[in-house]
Symmetry: C2
Subunit: 169 residues, 2 copies
Amino acid sequence: MKALIISADNFEDSELLYPYYRLLEENMEVDIASITKDKIRGKKGYEVEVDKSVGDIDPEEYDLLILPGGKAPARLREEKKVLEIAAHFVKNNKPVAAICHGPQILISAGLLKGKNATCYTSVAAEIKEGGANYDDRDVVVDGNIVTSRKPGDLPAFMREIFKLLKKKQ
Amino acid sequence: MKALIISADNFEDSELLYPYYRLLEENMEVDIASITKDKIRGKKGYEVEVDKSVGDIDPEEYDLLILPGGKAPARLREEKKVLEIAAHFVKNNKPVAAICHGPQILISAGLLKGKNATCYTSVAAEIKEGGANYDDRDVVVDGNIVTSRKPGDLPAFMREIFKLLKKKQ
């Protein structure tokens, strides 16, 4: 099992660190990708090493995609390759998990049409315009897409991600 | 299973948040205690609600004690009640887990004499003076005492905590 986290500067620190450490706790291999290979910095100041630029990512290698929130998704949704990676996961029935502003990437990739999903309060209008059935809950699972609202939802978010991964094994 | 996290202002944010969310992910009950019931603030700016003041803690109620790092332990080691709580856990063979500067509390309570333990680099001299066998590893387990060095050790730290809890069930 190999996971991919895509983020950029101004990520919501706990929404990147919690899933990252959590997957390592399960002895999973995890790559962090960003626009370039430069270190990225969270809103609260945590710095994270980047393993690969998104340009070098072959999504075939990965079994799970995680999209943390913060201001990073607003930048990442402008990158065609990021949208292609997200689309690859959905098309191939591989789990995609996005929290807070993370679902903005799925909206831009047109992947939430007709799906049940949640997101940060301020993103709700946008997710509905993107065709999703918005639900203000800690975690929403629709097929292989897991979405959550905010840092306090991280326990439920990871619980549902692991349930999906177990089904895939 | 009920867990107690004791911390104070200037905690190392991820060292409180990761264990806290992680225990909630397992559907455990978790209380956060501090010197008073006022909200506490981490070095990076995360704010956390406090459930109880340490003065109101009955350690008999809990099965696990977690001591995050940062600058909080330097303040907490001055509180007699905090040292008594830590001693209660060790005496009753209940798991105690301390990371980074967290072991300073165990040193002040005289609980690391003859024990294998680790801690943040700058605390190493102090832990040795306290009679511990210092080991520069991601996680050290001696009986019911789990210690780690820094945020990057959190996956190993929680993995060993859960191993201990499973043995107790």
